[in-house]
């Protein structure tokens, strides 16, 4: 596949104004699905969380999950939206085996929430307001695995296998209005917007919001228009960009790619595009076609949702504070410097640090782990830090360092074990035998052995040249496979050397 030409980012911004738009899908963490009592679970064996409704079997009828409606209203309110006095479900008709019914139950012209706005903070502390068009309820689709073909992608596949566990999981789709004026900040704003949505749904407690599991998925719309032109350019929709880092990169890439085409006198095709994490590029997906006629009509199997003003006010009163206010409060509570907090916020790690502290870690330990070693590992692996380890495990790790079971160095090895799926930190310590040897008896035995092997060093120490102990510390640490506290070893060496 030929690589698309791209234009230098700054040059592209000189010639064109980028206009953005986002569709973010949020999977709600209800116990059951949107329209059936089948469990809403992740990682279970294929086709186990299934009811007749999930399969669209004849005679099966959907019934709305009340909790999902409450969550959707809360999210709508948190996005500053109006809640529709009457909202209806609609059928979106299409033929694709990710849903067995040949339609998706969604909302069309009567979404539960509409006309809102979200404040998004950039790294430099400036705040941009993102206009929200609507947030509507719908059901997620099943998962297809394409078998055969070189890449596991649909191109060249021999057949596909369908798991309907995810079919019917409650989703809220948040659609922005066109976003103008982002200019050079467009890529960063894209990331900050998705990060803010993530913070909001985590604060509301309505979604696990783990992007690597698809709990939160972003489609990024990008179009360019020549400077001074009123009319919007043709947009592309880059689908399923599933990490904060990728959202930023995908928007930057699309701006550069479209600019190169337009500057050459070419035209942009209105199409979906696929994001490729490995190459940092997008490729053409499906162009808009006749098949995109979804023939929406009101879902005859479901009745209108008419939330009472009392319910809306109850949910409004229970809303968590707005992200910007929350960030200021957290920064103060945690005692972070501006720089420390920015590090956490720019990494999209505010919620993780908060959860880690809630699980028992000190604010500084939580910050250091997330912005330090965990982010480093994530970078090496090209994944999101949040996908590597849970806040609970980070807190457990911090605890093991605090109580002296692990040194920082050992703790990093334990973290690697946790990331590799070897279990919780305690289990990794156990399995790998990584705990610090705090048994003085074992240390003394190793020290005596090392001193006996190096009589000249012993003589030097006894002569008062205590820095000579370094050579013995090295030998003892080696014998202990690094699992000793060097300061304690040094103390003991001096003690032993002093004995006649």
């Amino acid at each position: 596949m030929a690589r698309d030409r791209v234009m230098d980012f700054d040059k592209a911004l000189e010639l064109f104004e980028p206009v953005l738009g986002f569709e973010v899908h949020v999977e709600l963490n209800t116990k059951t699905k949107m329209f059936s009592a089948a469990p809403n679970g992740f990682g279970d064996a294929p086709n186990t969380n299934i009811s007749p409704v999930c399969l669209g079997l004849p005679g099966s009828l959907p019934v709305v999950n009340e909790q999902a409606v409450r969550y959707s209203i809360s999210l709508g309110l948190a996005l500053g939206c109006s809640i529709a006095p009457t909202s209806r479900f609609a059928r979106k008709n299409y033929f694709y085996p990710d849903l067995a019914k040949n339609y998706q139950i969604s909302q069309f012209d009567e979404p539960i929430a509409f006309e809102g706005q979200v404040d998004v903070e950039l790294a430099d502390g400036s705040v941009r307001t993102i206009p929200i068009e609507r947030a509507h309820m719908e059901e997620d689709a099943g998962k297809l695995t394409h078998v055969g073909g070189a890449t596991g992608r649909i191109q060249g596949a021999e057949y596909s296998l369908v798991d309907y566990n995810r079919a019917g999981v409650p989703l809220v789709e948040i659609v922005t209005k066109p976003i103008f004026g982002a200019e050079h900040d467009a890529p960063e704003l894209a990331k900050a917007y998705v990060s803010t949505i993530r913070d909001i749904v985590i604060a509301l407690g309505i979604s696990d919001a783990r992007m690597e599991r698809g709990n939160l998925r972003c489609d990024a719309n990008v179009s360019l228009r020549p400077r001074g032109q009123e009319k919007l350019g043709t947009r592309t929709e880059t689908k399923n960009v599933n990490s904060l880092r990728s959202v930023e990169r995908a928007v930057r890439y699309e701006i550069q790619r479209q600019a190169a085409i337009l500057a050459d006198g070419g035209t942009i095709t209105q199409e979906t595009r696929h994001w490729h994490e490995d190459t940092g590029t997008t490729s053409a997906g499906r162009p808009k076609s006749d098949a995109d006629d979804y023939r929406y009509f009101p879902e005859p199997d479901l009745l209108p949702v008419v939330p009472s003003p009392e319910l809306i006010e109850e949910l409004r009163a229970a809303l968590p504070e707005a992200p910007a206010i929350r960030r200021r409060r957290l920064k103060e509570t945690w005692g972070f410097t501006d720089l420390e907090f920015q590090d956490v916020a720019n990494g999209g790690l505010v919620a993780e640090v908060e959860l880690t502290i809630a699980a028992g870690a000190s604010p500084q330990a939580a910050r250091k782990w997330w912005t330090g070693e965990i982010s480093r590992l994530a970078n090496v692996q090209g994944v999101e830090a949040t996908s590597l380890v849970s806040p609970e495990n980070v807190a457990a790790l911090a605890r093991l360092v605090e109580d002296g079971t692990l040194t920082d160095k050992l703790a990093r090895q334990v973290l690697e074990g946790v990331v590799a799926g070897e279990g919780a930190p305690e289990e990794v310590v156990e399995k790998r035998g990584l705990a610090v040897v705090s048994d003085d008896g074992a240390l003394i035995a190793a020290i005596d052995e090392a001193l006996a092997a190096q009589p000249d060093v012993l003589a030097k120490i006894q002569d008062g040249k205590v820095q000579a102990a370094g050579a013995v510390i090295g030998a003892v640490m080696k014998a202990m496979r690094g699992q000793a506290d060097a300061a304690r070893v040094r103390e003991l060496i001096l003690e032993r050397a002093a004995q006649p």
Binding site: K31, A37, S51, Y96, G149, I154, E158, A291, P298, L303
Partner: protein
Amino acid sequence: MSEISEQQVAHLANLARIALTPEEISSLTSELDTIVDSIAKVQEVATPDVPATSHPVPLQNVFRDDVVGQTLTTEQALANAPESADGRFKVSAILGEEQ
């Protein structure tokens, strides 16, 4: 007056994955046209104070508690599948994409 064209019927048939002969398209076009005309009559009497109705029954907010109920076993789920493999439905490779 004809509201529905044969092209529209052919387009709909294509979207709905229904193979129609030219004769069927022709007869369906006139049938659908009659239906559209009849509905247009209803629309004439609907004044602005009559809200659009999607359901004949005056019910709303029919909800279910978020409590896990009965599920099918994988075997039951796959019982009517023409083909299955690895606990999953096997379908022919589709030229197209997720929506």
